[in-house]
């Protein structure tokens, strides 16, 4: 099979892109000088409510994946970061099994916040709008189920394919900004 010059160039460029491609859901350290996660992109802030976040900084609930758990721990603001399995274990350790039925649905999570300890719930949302997929990071006050903070980035296409450098890290950086603006005790560069 003989290829013309253009085809060879296209194949070469494809290999370059594959070799230097972005990462997906890789837990990383914050950069030492800026305190942010390494990316050049910025997320769009959809909703941001002024509040004193220090009333909730004891506990954060994250989805059942290692990435969310690792990144929230790396932010270093919350005393304890748990996923759903971790919250279930905390409930059993504190003898609240008979009071809290389940944390597998929204009323159950709300009940856990009221009965056990108030916490912030971090979750991801995916939305199709104007023929583009958007990935949102939302921070929810579990005792009222009110959204405190929502930011978003887009995949640029109709496909929900997101990566760290364009989507996950900018969203995490916007969360860092929100925490430092609303907490009297936290600063990003510490």
């Amino acid at each position: 099979m003989s290829l013309d010059k253009n085809s060879k160039l296209i194949i070469f460029l494809t290999f370059c892109i594959l070799l230097f491609s972005c990462t997906t859901l890789k837990v990383t350290k914050r950069e030492a000088d800026t305190g942010y996660f390494p990316t050049f992109m910025k997320a769009t802030i959809i909703h941001s409510k002024k509040t004193n976040l220090d009333q909730y900084n004891q506990l954060a609930l994250v989805p059942e994946d290692d990435f969310s758990l690792g990144m929230l721990k790396e932010i270093g603001y919350f005393d304890t970061v748990v996923n759903f399995a971790g919250l279930e274990q905390l409930i059993i350790e504190n003898n609240l099994l008979d009071k809290i039925g389940t944390v597998s649905n929204i009323p159950g999570i709300n009940k856990a916040a009221k009965t056990y300890k108030n916490f912030l719930w971090v979750n991801w949302r995916v939305e199709l709008r104007n023929n583009k997929q958007y990935l949102q990071l939302a921070l929810v006050d579990a005792s009222t189920m009110e959204d405190l903070f929502i930011s978003e980035t887009t995949s640029g296409t109709q496909l929900p394919i997101f990566n760290d450098q364009e989507n996950y890290y900018p969203l995490m950086n916007s969360l860092l900004d929100y925490i430092s603006e609303n907490s009297p005790t936290y600063s990003i560069s510490d």
């Binding site: 099979m1 399995a85 279930e88 274990q89 409930i91 059993i92 350790e93 099994l97 008979d98 809290i100 039925g101 389940t102 944390v103 597998s104 159950g108």
Partner: protein, 207 residues
């Protein structure tokens, strides 16, 4: 890609047909452990991810077995698979009784505890059953159906429901030989054997 030659295709076909032809390949076949070793016959191993010591003898009166698919759960019925796993696990002769989730629900109703224990569809409810009904062990087998390098992996998890602590997590990777193998020898027996080893380490009475 351009680089897949006829040579590599024929090599793949040769390996695949060898696997199909060889006598050891079976899918969900009724097999007993080898009387000499007490283990299920397989040349495949498994990866132990978590192994925590625990007094399992006090909970051996009942084992709850749950099988689920990670992805594609609407399309695949797990009842036959669950029945097969229960039949094989009975051959360990360690657990007094082995239940499915439905068996446990019926047993709770028959013991007049349905007011205290509601739907067993989440971990906290199963924990409440262990506390209010009777102590037991909870075993889940998770089949990865999501496309990607982990497709076809099986994960066995043994959980103490009173604390929801994961005592044993073992994974079987059928893709480790470059061929997706779903035979008992590749994905089921290695998990049973890891469970047998765990029981040997943690039980006083088990042979």
């Amino acid at each position: 890609m351009f680089f897949i030659s006829y040579n590599s295709v024929s090599k793949f076909l040769a390996v695949a047909s060898c696997l199909l032809l060889s006598a050891c390949v079976s899918v969900m076949k009724d097999t007993s452990p080898d009387p000499n070793t007490g283990l299920f016959p397989t040349m495949f191993g498994s990866e132990v991810i978590t192994n925590k010591r625990s007094d399992i003898d006090s909970k051996k009166q009942l084992l709850l077995v749950e099988v689920f698919h990670n992805g594609g759960s609407n399309y695949f019925d797990t009842r036959n698979v669950t029945d097969y796993h229960i039949k094989q696990l009975r051959k360990l002769n360690y657990f007094d009784e082995i239940y499915t989730l439905k068996d446990l629900e019926l047993s709770i109703i028959n013991n007049g505890l349905s007011d205290e224990i509601t739907s067993l569809d989440n971990p906290l409810a199963i924990s409440r059953a262990a506390k209010n009904y009777k102590p037991f062990l909870w075993l889940t087998i998770e089949i990865d159906m999501l496309p990607g390098p982990s497709a076809g992996n099986r994960k066995l998890t043994l959980i103490d429901p009173t604390t929801l602590e994961k005592l044993l997590i073992v994974e079987a990777h059928p893709n480790q030989w470059g061929v997706i193998a779903t035979s008992d020898e590749a994905v089921r027996f290695p998990l049973y054997n890891a469970l047998i080893e765990y029981i040997r380490q943690n039980s006083k009475g088990f042979k």
